[in-house]
Symmetry: C5
């Protein structure tokens, strides 16, 4: 939970100035170069290319019934612009792809469906923008950097005879979106495990770091919630509204993804409530401890300060020889036992008083 600490809710600083023209694509000058990965799929075979030039795209689209184009990183935007041309992507959509930090949303353009989602990672409250375009026979995904949650999808594509190879591009898009949404489960599970530990600590013998740990988990939850909530509208729309590019059966699968989004929402909300509750419980534990510490101090001070006073009293140096009024006790035969007895009486009295108050339990 360390690396994503800075600017965690906001994503990278917005690069276009307020008032800039829409469709302006500005890029981070020292971003690593973008990598264009392509997988062509037909029911019978599959071909993967780890890095192609953007001009090869049309040939792939002709050759394969379903092509998954995966752009990793934005670089200086040449690949993105090239893809925009070859696939006919809308300028506004491209701007959303380039301006990271978008909320999840779905936009239906004439010849393509544009979906923005955000992938989650365990131990990292920041989420990564994944933009997905679905067209006739192709799916384009754009991710911020190397590393994603699509390995299982790739494995399914490589395996012969799987449903995912015989169905169209919409089913592939569903599989990818499903993987994105499911990436929240491990992230939330990690937080859940932390909370389980923190709960035991709070209910046991909490140390002061608990508050900070609770805060970190809570912040991760706020961040995850900010990312996941807009997915609700996205998948409700995808599973309910008619999109010409998505067939009936795939809609049914997308509805299942929608259910997952709801579950993730429920979990995040329950965890947020739980952290709030743990914080309150921790506060009472701290107060109770302070109470206990104060009680010990009060008991000791209440007993020994008066006794110390009595001792001090008979430590005064008034001269008994000057006058019989001056500390005659010092010369009594039973003087010392009398003083000790007085102390015992006073101390015992306070002990009794506090015992009655229930402080000695």
């Amino acid at each position: 939970m360390s690396g994503g600490r800075k600017r965690v809710f906001r994503g990278p600083r917005r690069r276009t100035a307020p008032g800039a023209a829409p469709g302006t694509l500005t890029f981070d000058a020292d971003a690593p170069p973008a990598v264009l990965r392509v997988i062509g799929v037909s029911p019978e075979r599959i071909r993967e290319a780890p890095s192609i030039d953007v001009r090869e795209i049309p040939r792939w689209l002709e050759e394969w019934p379903v092509v998954w184009i995966d752009l990793v990183g934005l670089g200086q935007g040449e690949e993105l612009r090239g893809l925009g041309e070859h696939l006919g992507l809308h300028a506004l959509a491209l701007e959303d792809v380039a301006n990271l930090g978008q909320r999840a949303k779905v936009e239906s353009y004439e010849s393509e469906l544009f979906v923005v989602t955000r992938m989650a990672y365990p131990n990292d409250p920041a989420t990564e923008q994944l933009s997905l375009f679905l067209g006739e026979g192709w799916v384009l995904t754009v991710q911020e950097r190397e590393g994603d949650c699509f390995d299982a999808v790739r494995a399914r594509l490589r395996e012969d005879g799987r449903r995912i190879r015989s169905r169209g591009a919409d089913y592939l898009a569903y599989a990818l979106l499903d993987a994105v949404v499911d990436s929240y489960f491990p992230a939330i599970d990690t937080i859940g495990d932390h909370l389980d530990e923190l709960e035991e600590v709070v209910l046991g013998d909490p140390d002061p770091q608990v508050a900070q740990s609770l805060h970190r988990n809570r912040r991760a939850l706020i961040s995850l919630r900010k990312s996941i909530v807009p997915h609700r509208d996205v998948f409700q729309s995808l599973s309910r509204d008619l999109h010409p590019l998505i067939d009936e059966e795939t809609r049914l699968f997308l509805r299942d993804v929608y259910d997952h989004v709801l579950r993730i929402n429920d979990l995040v909300d329950s965890f947020r409530e739980l952290t709030g509750d743990l914080m309150a419980t921790y506060m009472t534990v701290v107060s109770n401890r302070m109470n206990e510490v104060m009680k010990v101090l009060t008991i000791i001070a209440t007993i020994f300060i008066p006794l110390g006073f009595i001792a001090g009293l008979y430590g005064m140096n008034f001269d008994p020889s000057v006058s019989p009024l001056n500390m005659p006790e010092l010369g009594w035969r039973w003087g010392y036992p009398f003083a000790l007895g007085l102390m015992l009486a006073v101390g015992g009295g306070f002990v009794l008083y506090m015992w009655r108050k229930g402080w000695l339990k």
Copy 2:
């Protein structure tokens, strides 16, 4: 409230990896074997089989007007796959059955109605998934493990001449769903009893364990609420929308179940507010106690520390014989009474001051 402590909000860890194909059924390798119980019902008679093989199902369906198939546990999924084939269940529904930890939902497939609900248990914040399929003449329930809330339904089925035997499968499904929803009442009642006790403790003489107990109940309420809330949509849909498998009169009964769901929601919400309020009240009690402890300490210290100082003053060993300025009081005739009087005056002054402040009440 002990057993369900770990992973209580999340159900068992999800078994399918993100990106796995939908409809993939993966099972816990060391799960106990599943048991398939069947009850055939006709208005005149009833037959129960405590454990049958899945291939016997078609014969039961032919023979009896209404068949209740009850799958207890998932085992390695063979029974579930067999039932899917014989009853024509949808692959996505089967995935939801196998992936425990679903939210309550209702899905209408072509030839069956699929309902996911969650059963509650007293003293256990975790809820158990109960999947129910309603088809033409049969009801299939899948529960996670042995032990459920259907004993009263079974008793009603066994008794001759009861409405439940002469009505169709939809009425049986209603009776089972009603039992599931009503299972929340004892669970909430247990929490209510705990809160009644905790309230008395808080308003009386609370000990530090109160915060932990409140937290445990609150967590149980968060968990119950997470389980019950989605039932609202389920039963609103069941009692309002037209489903070909549910007749008009049964819809009326389902509306009654919907009312129960609303009541449970109300109770959970009221209890959550109450625990929050008890927590706040407890915090003020703790603060008031600390105040009282501090007041005793302050009273004792304020009175005796100055007196101790005076005593110490006259315990100094300055040599009166060297100079008449050196502690002449020690040689006064009324020196000791003067010192005692000074102490009385100072102590009495502080007592008066504190009595005026109202601290001695």
Copy 3:
């Protein structure tokens, strides 16, 4: 606020087990016998019977244009079952009548309208279920026990020439429902009076019982709110939807009741906010007090502990005769005044420090 303390949010413990057949009427074995009161009303005259047998009902229905049947208590359910038969009441409605603790709701059956409401009492956070059936020419009310809020309605019935006698059964039902809703005003007024007092105490000189009193009022408000909120839907439905048994003009009156429900809701919500705010204000008062106590302790201790140390210093018994380094001050001519001056300087310094900090104000 004493009697209703136990199980206050839940009403009496539900008697039917989860899974019991709907329409099962189970009763408390040692409930007092039910009493059946009837009032027959025509524009010209009125007849009241304090206790009749259920078999006399049909004769009353024939004889009078409007009959108000008032069942007080459920007894062993014979009267209720009898009424169900004679008036043709729906089994599910009867179950709701017998199972106390229902939320307010309205159900439209073929030949009757069934309304569940809850009456409030001042000084008692628990509310009583009042079930009302409206049929052609009759109104049936079922209350849990003797004592209700209908005395004013009865008085209006007895008085000659009042609108209530010449209008139909729907107007009588309206008058009764209006009385039920208005019963919340005195209950809320009582809480309001308590809060007025508590507010003065909190803003004045609060004692530790304030937190408990606030809690009790807050709990009463949670309970009242749980009871009143569902009435909103009930009266919105009654005043907006068309029910064949309620004529246009009566609907207008029911809309007025709906306005009252909204006002009660507003009041309860404002009071809940107020109690929360009072709690927070009380907490700061407690904290401020503790601050004041601590300040007195700190001031006294900070001044006198160092002085005591100085006094103790010169009470040490090092032998000045052994060495000139051993406490030569004791033999100084100005030794004692020097010591007193040192004390004055140290004490004065601390006083100055604390005065600058603003602690002595």
Copy 4:
């Protein structure tokens, strides 16, 4: 904020008992007599009568195109009943007029439009009910007592050639309602000024009265909010729905009033949040102060109590002459310097410890 303290959320105690007949008008026996003010308006001229008899109303209605009847106080209800007869007002509307403490609402009767609103006053959390009837050519306003926010409207009526004189009664009604809603701005501004001051106090050097002042403002906000919120529905309805008595252009003006209501709502909500936040900030200030006080106490006590103990040690009277083990230090040549050095070392050690803990900053 003083006068309105008692019963501030509830308005005057309801006078009709629960169950009383609707339309019953009961009045406060010692209310001051009602005053009936009338203004007749035509585009060319205007006539004002400060107090007329209710029987003169019909003559005014005949004579003037637009008549504004303003009833100040309810007295014993004769004027109200008279107006009800002459203007054909609905019985339920009259009951709402007489029963003060209504929420804002709008009711459309056959020949009149009935609007209940509430006027706000600065420095008074209580609001005053203003009932307004709009009929064909007349507007009737009923206010609780002398003093309103209509002076600017009257001035505009008196001025020749103003739009308000040439437009119909609906425009006059709009002008009055606009004045009522705008009366909230000064009331909220007063609270805003208080909060500005309190904020400076909290962020500066808060004294214990801050909590009480915050509470008072918060209560005033709760009260204003309760009054203003229902106006939202009222003016949304007035500006959107078609009412035969309100023409198209006036609807446009009413929409502007609706915008004002929304702004008032926004302000009240922001202020409520701000007070909550100020309260929390104040609590941390109090805690920080306590911390500071405790730190001073701890520093002083931690340094001087051990030193006092050392001093006390060498003040013991064991007899060195009896045995060489008995306090030989007292007879050492460097005894006293050794003791002082020990004290310096112990005291310095604690100072170092606390300096490292950062307590001395």
Copy 5:
């Protein structure tokens, strides 16, 4: 965050009295004079005039296909009234322009579209009202004072061959509104940076100023939220409803602005939650610190006060020569070692006790 401190939620004090006629334009007598800037745009060329007279407007409108009129400041309202005449603006719209402090809203009049928005500035919680009128071939913006967020738009207009010059007035209006909404990003980013710093401080070693800083940021968020929230409805309406002056494609761009509004909302809400959470965490840090301080005090006092008492005991001056009962220990051979041993035992006992309690960790 300093300048906007006073009256920050309310904007300038409303100038029209409650009850004033609508359309009354009253102005601040000592406002600086208004400046009227105009830019005429055609696809081929552009002409800017930094300050023109309002009577020149019609000539500009004739000459150029798209004219952007930018009124900076209101002055005494002459320019505004002139514009109202020449452009045919509605009186109510003009009133909204003149009465600063409006919420964002959109109004569709016959020949123009009127939008009120609010611009944000970094480091200033106050927002500035920007009124925008869109007519056939012209856009009028009215801002409160010099300084806006339109520099990038002006730069785009000046550049040849940009889309913004060839599209109509609606696209120019979009570009301006987009700039207004995007002005919130830097404002929120500033707060985000503050919160990042504060978070580090809270989780590290918070000083008492943290509470005040958190409060200031929270207040800025409340203020920004109050400004931005109404934009949601404005841009939803602009991007969804049909307005004759806005063509299909521009609607698509406005939808993008709507997405930005949603993101800003999300950010503000997340930041509000975060500040609340930081406040709670800070409170526990303060409590923990107090605990630590108290523990040190208690440990020291608990050990040394009893030891001091023992030392005081043997400092008493009872005369051993008078009686063998009077402090015979003083004359023992092992008296002093015994006393030291007793102290060691007592002190060690308390240390052991506290070590067992875990206070010495």
